[in-house]
Symmetry: C2
Subunit: 326 residues, 2 copies
DNA sequence: GTGAAAGCGCTAACAC
DNA sequence: GTGTTAGCGCTTTCAC
């Protein structure tokens, strides 16, 4: 009933634990001896304890991921990218959701540190920066995702979207579709959203269009979207921009509930591509989330000395929701 | 640069390691001593090594999840349910995707075993059963998800949907919507699909309707859906049933590409609810995936002696894609 | 080639 | 209360 240890195997094979360790990890052992050891391994159903192994290495082989919320399409794809690289490197991924709760976030990052993860990917707020920075200095590669740090600490890698470019891209596309009055909905005051708005405003400005502050609403939760939408619609905009894929469904629903149709009543442009995008004809600005996840995991695996600052370009995926011309 | 150990803390505080361990884990220590220890902990930035701790416990506090593919809506919700319970219990979750590759699956389950996970949730094929069974016998609670085992091994918990009920529910709903010729698309020969088909066939049978074998097609990948659909459509069905949420988008697209509209040209009924369901008016048979994930994690946390066999009831979420009346 | 023995960072008796 | 000491399961010198 009890698990066999390396000592049990050694006893069964009539050798020392050192020898067993050698055949398991590829040291120089005579053919015949190795055979006896493998026999014992099999008959005892021995499974090495990775935890104990990690004591010597100083750290585990697991990659830690602390994410806002798996439900968001961006994070989901990011996760898949991380998983792919981890899997190819024999690493497992350990993850935890923060649900935007700073307390949870700090706790999870701490736990990851205690687990001596091989590296850490954090996508959440700024509350973890202190510890993350120390972890990085201590030799655990850490990569910050999707966040713009004013002055990024050395050692901390970062992977992000060029948010200003995304905003500008939105402006240019809407202008090219003949829209002149844009309303924006975001999900709380995140730095990435601020940058997207900056880009949007600049792009609009170049076309002689303004983006006044009251054309921007915010909804921290899906339940707040309807109210925010109502506030925006009194301005009679001809285009709605949703700054995050996390709110696409809710914004779409709020509009649909009012009987508004795309692109006739309103142009609709949102962030992050999603599976139903083509079917619904919704034009999006896509982030290469999967690629970003892969690169993040690669940074952990490769652990370069110099802090990497990776910025990815957004991509416009044109469909029909903005009244695109043929 | 090097990490502080419990010994470093002890030295800095002028106490023994045992005392440090006590203040960290809540033993009886004098107030003043504890204060000195905490001071040392802080100044040395000491973070206990969870790996080493787990050696004593015999296992880690992490819950392992080996899943087919995070992309599927069912598995995603399942995962969120698991995460919720794990998080509430101070556990982290470690996961790996198999992408339906038996080789990957075996390797991942093995790795989880080596990691001495507190418990394991497996959603994949049968290739892991041997090892999983041994793990369970060895005291690691294992729960099999969404799979019907002919004769489930003792010790292995299982959490599944009542697939026959789901099939019957589909039949009854379509019949009540006046449909008489049903075509079915599945994703490969999974036991759960077989059961759903059985239920569907029985339900249809009670209404005097048949479900011949050539009204059932299979698509192992999204890329095969279009061809499978073409084969089904020659029978001129008045209803299409999709047996898995993983194929909903592809099936919907294949139909839409042919200019077929719901519910006028065809009824459309699929498995697993999804965010865009309401917007698209697609009627679904939902699995309580989140709840199932919670229960699976609870089984691991509680680790009951008797193997649990949990079966969940599907739920019909009526919208408009089947031509529902009023 | 192989074994004995010293640790890895920590907990848990057991003394004082 | 606090320290000493013996492990937990494993890797890794260092002899032989």
């Amino acid at each position: 009933m009890k698990r066999a240890t390396i000592g049990d195997v050694a006893a069964a094979a009539g050798v020392s634990v050192a020898t067993v360790s050698r055949v398991l990890n590829g040291g120089a052992v005579r053919q015949a001896t190795a055979a006896r050891v493998w026999e014992a391994v099999t008959s005892l159903d021995y499974t090495p304890n990775a935890l104990t192994k990690s004591i010597f290495a100083g750290r585990s082989s697991t990659i830690g991921v602390v994410i806002d919320d798996l439900t968001s399409p961006f994070y989901l794809d990011l996760m898949r990218g991380i998983d792919e690289v981890a899997s190819a490197n024999g690493s497992l991924v350990m993850f935890a959701n923060t649900f935007h709760d700073p307390g949870r976030e700090v706790a999870h990052v701490r736990t990851m540190d205690e687990q001596r993860v091989r590296g850490l990917v954090v996508t959440s707020g700024a509350s973890t920066d202190e510890r993350t920075r120390r972890m990085a200095e201590g030799g655990t590669p850490c990569v910050i995702i999707a966040r713009s740090l004013p002055q990024p600490p050395p050692h901390l890698h970062s992977v992000k979207l060029d948010n200003r470019a995304a905003g500008r891209m939105m402006a240019e596309h809407l202008v090219s579709c003949g829209r002149r009055s844009v309303a924006v909905i975001s999900s709380g005051p995140r730095p990435s959203h601020t940058e997207r708005i900056e880009g949007l405003r600049r792009g609009l400005g170049e076309a002689g269009l303004a983006l006044p502050d009251d054309a921007i609403a915010s909804a921290d939760a899906n339940s707040e979207v309807d109210e925010a939408m109502a506030a925006l619609l009194v301005r009679r905009p001809d285009a709605i921009v949703c700054l995050t894929g996390r709110r696409t469904v809710a914004v779409h629903s709020a509009l649909a509930a009012r009987g508004l149709r795309f692109p006739d009543d309103l142009a609709f442009l949102t962030m992050d591509d999603f599976a139903w995008g083509p079917a619904l004809g919704i034009t999006v600005i896509a982030q290469p989330a999967y690629r970003m996840g892969q690169r993040a995991a690669e940074l952990i695996v490769e652990n370069p000395n110099r802090a990497a600052r990776l910025t990815f370009k957004p991509e416009l995926i044109t469909r029909t929701s903005c009244g695109e011309k043929g």
